[in-house]
Amino acid sequence: MPNEAGVIVRFQRAGPKPTLQEAAEHLRVPLTALSPAYGVQVEGGTGKYHVKLLQEQLLDPTRGEVFSNPGFSLQGPPTNQ
């Protein structure tokens, strides 16, 4: 089951920034398992990229590193709780 949080997957790839389709092919996951809103993020000139994968179980862990995508909370007054 996809979940909204999903996981962040980092991978390394030579050449120019891949498209989401190319990222899906590189990771060998269906394109539909990647978040189009997240797209492909560049990790600062290192040839590393990351995507948001909505179904972690689809990934062969040798294709990319998996990181958590935790929720966060604003640190203001907890009104209306």
Binding site: I8, E43, G44, F72, S73, P78
Partner: protein
């Protein structure tokens, strides 16, 4: 037998009045304390009372108070209960002493209980106002020094800004619409519902009223004040990526000279992360991609600030899910590159909700304390404080933006790197009373701009 501290009321006899006038008149303490007890009529006092000679007989009636400064004071004008003095007596005698009454039948001996400063907690009224914060930050002086945020952008990675609200609060905010961003395309920058982000914007503008705001509305909350979970890290990751693109634009194409990034958010529960032992965790893992995003942004010259969080010992937010002994400053809030901000009230007392260090990644957290829990934006309703380390963080971000308006980031200048600016503002901080070194509550101290005029760099 235990000595207990008591307060005792006495009449305005000439002896008491003379003793009180010696305090009021500034008689040297040695002479004063020698004379004080001698001047009191011991018949008026409980038998075992030892008078505290350091405590001035304090008038309890207006007529008595006026006699303290009169040129020809008159005794016996106000009668019983005119003054209160302090002393110590045996606890064994206390019961009998409580039966003592004055001529009007009123009790004369009262307890003098100890009290402690109650740290500010959510739900409690504001302590001080935005004017107090402004005074503490020296914003008038900063303005005269040209430190008002001019040329600096403050990105608020939050739940959106409402510009009309800020204007209604007397501000003249400037928003860079085109550089702003939200994953929610239906929210126009500057037009979010009045909420947390507007509070943060208001607070950032206290010290940097001429800064340009960038609205990065990544939190998805639709409930005022936030819900248990307001967004996902992945949204903040995109925001940081976009900010990095802005920072890497050539100087003449970038719409600001310096960038300050405010993050008044944190993870409230370790249950939201991968389980302990699994690689890829966020809370204590410097290898997480978000660390690279933050590191790249500070490396490009942006000053990044994070709130310490609201899981303090005295009055934690009810949403905190950290166990006893677990570090509560976690993830990005604990990165060495960022300035992590604890919360104090305008009296420089730590707020009960401010998360103490250490941090999970850099143990030397928080870095500095800034002001919160004051009457400011009233974004949460009339009379409601700007509260949480959420408010302290943008107050501090405004101070950094003010400094940056005179010392913007400059490629190649080692004095103007985010790391150097961070070191300077931490060195400028003032230790609160009783604190002499780095502390896990206040970090390096409370923000202070006294050194900004001559920072020692150019």
């Amino acid at each position: 037998m235990v000595a207990v501290r008591v307060l005792v009321t006495v009449p305005d006899t000439s002896d008491v009045l003379d003793a009180a006038r010696m305090f009021a008149g500034g008689v040297a303490s040695s002479q004063r304390t020698q004379s004080f007890a001698d001047r009191l009529d011991l018949d008026l006092l409980p038998p075992s009372l030892v008078i505290d000679r350091s405590y001035a007989p304090t008038p309890l009636k207006l007529t008595t108070a006026t006699q303290l400064l009169a040129s020809a004071p008159q005794a016996d004008l106000s009668g019983p209960g005119s003054f209160v003095i302090r002393g110590f007596m045996d606890s064994d005698d206390l019961h009998a002493a409580h039966d003592l009454t004055d001529s009007s039948g009123c009790p004369r001996v009262f307890s003098d209980p100890a009290f402690g400063l109650v740290p500010a907690a959510f739900g409690e009224p504001p302590i001080g106002t935005v004017l107090d914060v402004s005074r503490q930050l020296g914003t008038g002086r900063l303005g005269r020094l040209g430190m008002d945020g001019t040329g600096v952008a403050i990105a608020l990675v939050d739940n959106g800004i409402n510009l009309s609200f800020l204007r209604s609060r007397g501000l003249q905010p400037s928003l860079d619409y085109h550089s702003s961003w939200s994953p929610n395309q239906t929210v126009t920058p500057g037009s979010a519902p009045i909420d947390h982000g507007s509070m943060c914007a208001y607070d950032a503008l206290i010290a940097a009223p001429r800064a340009t705001l960038l609205d990065f509305a990544v939190a998805r909350t639709t409930r005022q004040g936030g819900s248990a979970m307001d967004g996902f890290l992945s949204d903040a990751l995109i925001a940081f990526g976009r900010l990095l693109m802005l920072m890497t634009l050539p100087d003449d194409e970038r719409p600001f000279r310096s960038l300050v990034v405010n993050n008044s958010w944190a993870v409230f529960s370790p249950a939201w992360d991968f389980p302990v032992g699994r690689p890829g965790r966020y809370l204590d893992n410097p290898n997480h991609p978000f660390h690279a995003a933050v590191s790249n942004l500070t490396g490009a010259g942006a000053d990044v600030l994070f709130a310490a969080g609201n899981c303090g010992d005295a009055a934690p937010d009810g949403r905190c899910g950290f166990g006893v002994g677990q570090a509560r400053i976690t993830g990005a809030n604990a990165y060495a590159e960022v300035i992590t901000v604890a919360g104090v009230d305008v009296n420089r007392t730590l707020t009960g909700y401010s998360s103490p260090g250490p941090g999970t990644i850099d143990p030397q957290k928080p870095d500095i304390a800034a002001f919160t829990h004051f009457k400011g934006s009233e974004a949460f309703g009339s009379g409601q404080p700007d509260a949480g380390t959420s408010a302290a963080c943008p107050v501090m971000a405004g101070v950094v933006a003010a400094l940056r308006s005179r010392y913007p980031f400059q490629n190649g200048s080692s004095a103007r790197t985010p790391s150097a600016i961070k070191s300077f503002v931490l060195a400028s901080a003032v230790k609160p009373a009783g604190v002499t070194a780095f502390s896990l509550e206040f970090g390096n101290g409370v923000v202070d701009t006294g050194m900004f005029e001559n920072p020692g760099f150019s």
